[in-house]
Every structure is written in C-alpha cells, then in structure tokens.
C-alpha cells in the first residue's frame, strides 16, 4: 500500500450498504445478467420451436397423402363394347381407347347406386364424375392384361377424384366448393350416402410410394416411386464416382503431397468449391455436360455427375479429417517392418480410417439427395408417367425425375391436392435422410477408435 492509494473521501457514507443487502447498482447488474441468460435461452427456444413447427407442419400436412379414397364398383366388361369381333385378338382390344371404357364405368356406377337404393337427382354423368379420370385407364390396362375376362363382371377398386378425396380428408368442405365447378353440393350428398353404405372408403395408398407421377388433372393418381428410382440411380453415380475420387484426392493431399504452391492451390480450390452455391454447379452441368458434351437432358447420369462435383469437397474434407486422425505410429510401424509408403497407406492407414470415410460419404450423399436447384437447370424434372418396371430398365440415360425435383413440380401446380402430395413426398425424402444420417451416426459410434 502506498500513500497515494485512493481512499475515498467520505467513503464510509458512500458505501454504507451491507453486503447482505445488494445496492441498486448490483441489482441492476444482476438483472442484466439474468436478462442475458434469458436471451440465450430464448434464442435456443426459438431455434427448437422452428424445428418443432417445421416437423409438425410436414407431418400434419403430409400424412394425408398416404391414404386415399377409393370406390368399389362391379364392372361388367361388355363384349360388344370391348371386343366387337369376339376373337379376343389383343390388337383389336387395344384399339378401344379409354373413351370406350367410360360407359362401362358409368353403367357400373348406375347399377351400384340402384342396388344400394340411393335416390339422387343427379345426372349419371355428374355421378360418375366422382371417379378419378384415371379409372378408365385402369380398366383398360386390366382388360389388355386379362383379355379372357371380357364378358365377366369384375370388382374394381377405383380412385375417386381429388375433390372427393379432399372432402373425405376435410380439405374440401361445402363452404369451400361454392365457386368450384368440378364438384357440387349434391355430389357430396351422394358421397355421404356411399360412405354410409361402405362403397367409398379411405384406405392406405401404396401407389403414392411406388407409383409414377400423373398429369395435373389427376392429383389422386400421382406417386413418388419413379422419382425415387431416379434419385437412387443418381446416388449410385455419385457413390461410384465421388467416393473413389474423393478418397484418392484425400490420400494424396494428406499422405503424399509436398508442401508447395500446387498443393496450396488444390487446397484453396477445394475449400472454395465447398462454399460455391449449388446452382452454379447446375450451370456448370448445363454448359459442360449438356451443351458441350451433348449428354441427354434429364438423364440421371448428368444429374449424378453434377451432384458428384458438388459432393466431392464434402467427402474430401471429411476423408482428410479421418486420415489425419490415424496416429503416425501406425505409419511408422508399417514402414519399420519394410512396407513401402504406398503399402503403409493402403494396407494400414486406409482400413483404419474407413469408418470415418464411410460416415463422411453417407453425409455427403444425404446432402446430394436433398439438392434441388442444380437438377432444375439440367432438366431433371422429366415427366415420367410409366410405372416402375418399365422405367427401371431404361437406365442412366433416359429422362427421369428426382425426389426433390418431383416435390418442386407438385408445389408448382398450385392445387391443394398436389400440395398434400408435395408434403407427403417430403416425408419420404426426410425418412431417407434420417435413415442415412442415423446409419452414419451408428457407424461412427460403433467403429470410431480413440487413439
């Protein structure tokens, strides 16, 4: 203590408070402390709340897509309509268009209504309009597949149109159809009666998961199956190219690269590519793969190539991290017993780093699976109405769609029935992503070694 140490004049009177009773300044500071903590908690709460809102919105709006309203009808496959010559010649049967099938469905509807004893003033045409426009096509496909059944009466389960489906799901109400030309209140009365008799039922709809996209007149028939295949084939391309190239590049940079300007350039390039907006990769794909190399548009091969370029930096960064985590003693031991440097890396370091590499690759793939923007530019929104088996065989060069692109297409069609399907499609997409990430986490937990 020196003489000039500050001794407050009248100090005793200024600090008269006790330690036990906080003075105003302390109270203020303590309150500020509490407020600060509350801000922090509020920020985290906001973040988590957004997550909850997002997930509940997706589930709430998307689950509806997995059930669909069906109507059961007994259709008499009249010979005079479907096969006038009676020869069961498949070419003659194919000549009958879906147009020729609709009278059969109308008749079936009429019989059904009469059988159930429902009184209605609606014209038959209006009654049959409750069915999906795909019903005639479904009937025609059945007849072409089973020509022997002509002349018999067969029970079919037809899709109802999207308005009836929306009515069953509560999306369409009697108030909301006031200005809607495609459905009337009387038709909904008929639906109510048919529901009461058990003819119209809402059941699980596997076609949404396995089926193909449908035209914008028939949202009830649209499905995700084909675009799932498109995404799957793109993922194969990405896996087949990005994993070997990414691992090779990381091995070189981590184990062999000398410290020189070339290595620096490569490293700077990789970290920059990781931050380039995905749409720029789309432009690259359009300019190089489609305009310059003349690869077909909408092909999963092109989509896969673009996504490969996009995921490569992610895979390289995570692979380098896991190569780095293998301790140098492993390399030293291998070199010590006479392995060449290449052998030390390929026989010892790489297998030990494999779980980490795999985890990084899966996360990179998950990122690629959800990417949409570059796919729009290379036209991966091919409208594929054929069902699964036909489009599998076509491989990597035929037009296809991808899950996120399909969701975007549905969202663009501005019809609540398609919105429901878009949300439903998101559920499928998220199920894939969650599964992939869970696998990655499990792999990391199970195989990660702490040295």
């Amino acid at each position: 203590m020196s003489d000039i140490s500050q001794t407050p004049e009248n100090g005793s009177s200024k600090h008269a408070g006790s330690l036990l009773t906080p003075n105003p300044r302390t109270i203020k500071r303590n309150n500020a402390e509490k407020r600060f903590q509350v801000y922090g908690i509020a920020a985290i709460a906001v973040g988590l709340l957004m997550l909850v809102v997002l997930v509940t919105t997706i589930l709430g709006k998307g689950v509806g897509a997995y059930s669909q309203t069906f109507i059961t009808l007994d259709v008499e496959l009249l010979e005079k309509k479907l096969d006038k010559k009676g020869t069961r010649n498949i070419d003659d049967i194919k000549k009958v268009t879906t147009f020729g099938y609709s009278p059969l469905i109308k008749n079936a509807f009429k019989t059904k209504v009469a059988e159930l004893g429902i009184e209605t003033d609606l014209k038959l045409k209006k009654q049959a309009a409750l069915l999906s426009k795909s019903a005639a096509g479904q009937l025609r496909n059945y007849v072409i597949a089973n020509p022997d059944m002509i002349g018999e009466t067969v029970t079919f389960r037809f899709l109802t149109n999207s308005r009836v489906d929306g009515y069953m799901k509560g999306r369409v109400s009697r108030d909301s159809i006031a200005n809607d030309k495609s459905v009337s209140s009387e038709q909904l009365d008929l639906v109510d009666e048919l529901v009461a008799k058990g003819t119209i039922k809402k059941t699980f709809n596997i076609d949404f998961i396995l089926g193909a996209d449908a035209s914008d007149q028939r949202p009830e028939a649209a499905g995700m199956g084909v675009s799932m295949l498109g995404s799957l084939s793109m993922m194969f391309v990405v896996l087949g190219l990005a994993l070997p190239i990414g691992v090779a590049a990381s091995i070189y940079l981590e184990e062999f690269a000398p410290q020189n300007w070339l290595t620096d350039i490569i490293e700077v390039n990789i970290s920059n590519l990781a931050a380039v907006p995905s749409i720029v990769f789309g432009i690259l794909g359009l300019a190089v793969f489609i305009n310059y190399m003349h690869l077909p548009t909408s092909a999963p091969l092109v989509g896969g190539l673009v996504l490969t370029l996009m995921t490569l930096p992610t895979i390289i960064i995570s692979t380098r991290a896991s190569l780095k985590s293998v301790p140098p003693s492993i390399r030293d031991a291998a070199l010590g017993v006479g392995a060449s440097k290449m052998q030390a890396v390929f026989h010892h370091v790489l297998p030990l780093a494999a779980p980490g590499i795999l985890t990084g690759t899966i996360i990179g793939l998950a990122q690629a699976l959800g990417e949409t923007a570059p796919l729009l530019l290379i036209g991966m929104v091919g409208f594929i109405a054929s069902n699964a088996p036909d489009s599998v065989a076509s491989g990597l060069l035929d037009p296809n769609s991808a899950m996120p692109a399909q969701i975007y297409e549905w969202a663009k069609r501005a019809d609540p029935a398609f919105y429901e399907r878009a949300w439903g499609g998101i559920i499928i997409l998220l199920v894939f992503l969650v599964t992939m990430n869970t696998v990655a986490v499990i792999l990391r937990r199970r195989f990660e070694r702490r040295w």
Binding site: G40, L54, A248, A249, Y252, I283
Partner: protein, 492 residues
C-alpha cells in the same frame, strides 16, 4: 451408346492382363515367389494398369475434345458472307448442330437411310418438314449451306468416332503387350505400379482445380457471348429487368441484386441474433447435458433440404403472413399491405431459420477458441458472466464472428429453392418487405429452365448472372476465411 461398350471392353482387357501378367512373372521365377522382385500381384497390376490407364485417358480426352475440334472445322467451311447480318457464326453453328442431331435421330428411327441423309438437298426437299416428322423441331427453314455443314459435321463425327475406337484399342492392346513383354522376375514391378498409383492420386486431387476451371470457363464463354449480343452497360448499370423473348429486352442485374441483398439482409436479421445468442448460451452457460441435447437438435435445421424450406415458405409462412398483414378487414391487423404469399419477408424469415444453425455452430467454435485465461481474468476482476461475455469474450471473438456472418451471407446470396418458391418474380427497387421481389438465383432458374435457346441474350444472361453470383460468393468466402484465419493465429 458404343462408347460404354468400349469402356467395358477396356476393363475386361485389363482384367485379362492382370492374370496373364501375374502368371508370366510366376513362371519366370519357376513358381517360387521368393525369387520375384515384387509380390506377384504387382506384376499383374502392372500389366492391367498399363493396358487400362493410357487408353482410358486418351478416350476421355478424345470425348471431351472432339466436339470442339469438329465445331471449328465445320465452322470454317461456312463462308463469312453466307452468315446473315442479324446472326453470328455461333448462332449458325447451333443451327448446324441441331440439323445434324435431327438427321441422326431420323436415321436411328429408321425414317431415313444413311445414304438418304447424305443425299438430301435443301433446294429440293423441305428439310424442316422432313425432320419435323421425327419430332425434330427446327426454328426456321434449313438453308443449303447449313444443311451442307450439318452433313460435313456428321461425316466428321463418324470418322472421328471410328478413329477414336481404333486408337483406344491399339493403345490398350499395345500397352498390354508392352507390359507383358517386360514382365520378368527381376522387373521392379512394385516401384512402377506405385508410381502409377501416385500419378492417379495426383490426378484425382487436381480434379478440384479442373472443376473450378470448368465453372469459370463455362460461364465466362457464355458471358462473353452475352456481352457480344447485349450492352454490358445495360447489364451492370441499367435499372430495369424486363426480359422479352421477341428481343429488345432490358436485362439489368441491379434490381435483382437489390432483391438478393434485401432478402439476405432480412435472413441475417433473423439468423444472426438468434444464432449468436444460442451460441453464447451453449458455450458459456449451458450444462453438458443441455448442450448435448440442444446442439444436435439445432443442427438438424441445417440438414433439412432447401426444397423443404421452400415449401414451408410457400405454403405455411407466406399464407400466415398474409393472414396477419393482408386480407383487409378479415386479416388479423385489418390492413391490406400484402397481396400474395410470396414476399421478401416470407423468403427472408425462412432463410433466416435455415441459417440459424450455420451461424450458431460457427460462432460456437469461435467463442470456444477464446482462451479461458481471458474469461478467468475478467471474472477475477469482479465482472459478472454476462459482462465477461459482452466486454471480453465477444470483442475477442468479433473478427471470427464477422467471418461467420459473412459466410452465412454468402450462403444466403447463393440460396435458390427458398427464393424460387417464396420470393416471387417481380424485379423492382422497393423497400417494402411485404412485396414480392426477385433474386439473381431465381432469374437463373427461370431463364435456364424450359425451352431455352442458347443464342438469345435472354438465355445467355443467366450465365452472366451466374458468374456475378460466383464472384460475389467467392469474394465473401475468401474475405471470411481470411478474417477467420487471421483471428485464429492471434491465439495460437
């Protein structure tokens, strides 16, 4: 696609090479592996790789270079005086390619024989109608010189493909024979193979450079094309974005840039406070259990695909905002400020939600990197925890946090799906966040999807926009990385 079969046969050949090489080495050592210089697999690998790699690289380079060389060759055959006033050589060449593709298609569908396609004459036949039968839509009637060039183009392509198959086959078989003849027990196969593998590794690593070069050049060429058709002053300095496919459009980037920056600004306004406070709380206050629970959950937000956010903006946030700010007397505020669901605010809020985990985990890392001694010093002087954070930790971490915000901004500027679905399509300068506006990425998507004509400035402008976007985000990233790196060095 015959090239695929060529690749497949290359691989088969190299597999055969592996076995014959291995056997020959073993034989030369009399079946005793101890007499060999290297392990037997290296002899096999040597033959397999020598057969495969040169042939495959020549194939790849050939496939990449062929279109360019043939283009210049064919383009030279078109005399300059035959190119119409209103057109350029590039435009005529794209016509030529389209006619050539049309002829290819007609031949492959069986509608024309190969001889027909050579003999067809623009002066006697209506080529446009003829190709139209096979679903090839041509914009205008085919002029004789274009048809002639297209035929040359097809001939050259056919010859080049044949030559390519030959060269690749010769290289593969020659490589196999060469390596096979060198295979002997004293041959240092391991060293050769390892050198080859190292070369492959180097090649894989330099693909990153190739990709960047590809990005820059693909956009640069088309951008130059664009500036040859459209005044660069209008692009950079004009004030109107009004593409018009009949020509005479006003294509200026400024209104788009304004929309982009405005939306990004709102996104950062949401993401930075929330992300920063979350990061401070998680790193300074939260118990281990809270941290282990909240951090991964927050990071889920970053793993959700942007299409999901886009749909969320279009169908949930947008209508919700309309319910608050729109609908006149039926709305919650009873005002009529917002007409449609798409607006700057819609896209900005949703993008902000997406960026929360981005800001929070980056700032978290940076706050954790501030040395504990600084906190201890501050607390020792009697500061409360929040005072320590505000007056010591945050100032120390500030450069890093600025870097994180810049990275988030570059994300926001390059984000596509959220703005495509949530922001709208009207290019204008306006300060009202409830109006719909458009962004650079949205316009790239709309100019490049659907039927595009790569000779019109309305399509090519997308490449100029893309290049601007690339430069913009790259600049932000480099700046951010520099700041972060400099800051890290301070405490290491």
């Amino acid at each position: 696609m015959p090239t695929i079969w060529l690749v497949v046969s290359l691989f088969v050949l190299s597999a055969i090479g592996y076995f014959v090489g291995r056997n020959r080495a073993l034989q030369s050592a009399g079946g005793d592996t101890r007499d060999l210089h290297s392990l037997p697999i290296y002899y096999g690998m040597n033959v397999a790789l020598t057969a495969l790699i040169p042939a495959l690289s020549v194939l790849v380079i050939w496939v990449l270079a062929q279109p360019m060389i043939i283009d210049t060759q064919v383009s030279r055959t078109i005399p300059a005086e035959l190119i119409p006033e209103s057109s350029t050589r590039g435009l005529v060449m794209s016509d030529v390619r389209r006619v050539a593709e049309g002829l290819d298609l007609a031949v492959s569908l069986g509608g024309m024989t190969e001889a027909d396609s050579q003999a067809i004459n623009a002066e006697t036949t209506d080529v446009r109608a003829r190709l139209g039968e096979y679903g090839v839509a041509l914009g205008s009637d085919v002029r004789p010189e274009v048809l002639k060039a297209a035929q040359t183009y097809r001939n050259l392509t056919a010859t080049a493909s044949l030559a390519m198959n030959l060269v690749v086959a010769v290289l593969a078989i020659g490589g196999l024979a060469f390596a096979y003849s060198k295979t002997h027990k004293d041959f240092r196969a391991r060293n050769v193979v390892e050198r080859g593998v190292l070369a492959l590794l180097i090649f894989a690593a330099s693909l990153a450079i190739l990709t960047t070069v590809g990005i820059v050049f693909s956009m640069l060429f088309e951008t130059l094309n664009f500036f040859s058709l459209h005044d660069w002053k209008d692009f950079f300095l004009g004030t109107t974005w009004a593409p018009n496919f009949r020509g005479d459009s006003e294509l200026s980037i400024l209104p788009l840039l304004w929309g982009t920056l405005y939306i990004s600004f709102i996104a950062l306004l949401v993401a930075v406070p929330v992300g920063l406070f979350a990061a401070v709380y998680l790193s300074e206050y939260a118990s281990g259990a809270t941290r282990a629970f909240a951090k991964p959950l927050l990071e889920i937000l970053a793993g959700i695909p942007t299409i999901v956010y886009g749909l969320f903006a279009l169908l949930t946030v947008g209508p919700m905002l309309v319910r608050v700010f729109g609908r006149g007397d039926n709305g919650l505020l009873g005002v009529e400020w917002m007409a449609g669901a798409t607006s700057v605010l819609t896209a900005g809020i949703v993008m902000g939600i997406m960026l929360i985990p981005f800001v929070s985990s980056l700032s978290d890392d940076i706050i954790n990197a501030v040395p504990q001694s600084m906190r201890d010093g501050s607390l020792g002087l009697g500061a409360t925890k929040s005072e320590t954070v505000r007056q010591v930790v945050l100032p120390a971490a500030l450069p890093g946090i600025v870097g994180a915000v810049l990275l988030a901004a570059s994300r926001a500027i390059g984000e596509t799906m959220i703005v495509v679905m949530g922001a709208g399509a009207i290019a204008k300068f306006s300060l009202n966040p409830l109006e719909s506006m458009t962004t650079i990425t949205t316009r790239i998507v709309s100019q490049l999807t659907g039927d595009t004509d790569f000779a019109s400035p309305e399509t090519l402008v997308a490449f100029a926009l893309g290049l601007t976007l690339f430069v913009l985000t790259l600049g932000l990233n480099v700046l951010a990385l520099l700041i972060v790196r400099k800051y890290r060095e301070q405490y290491e």
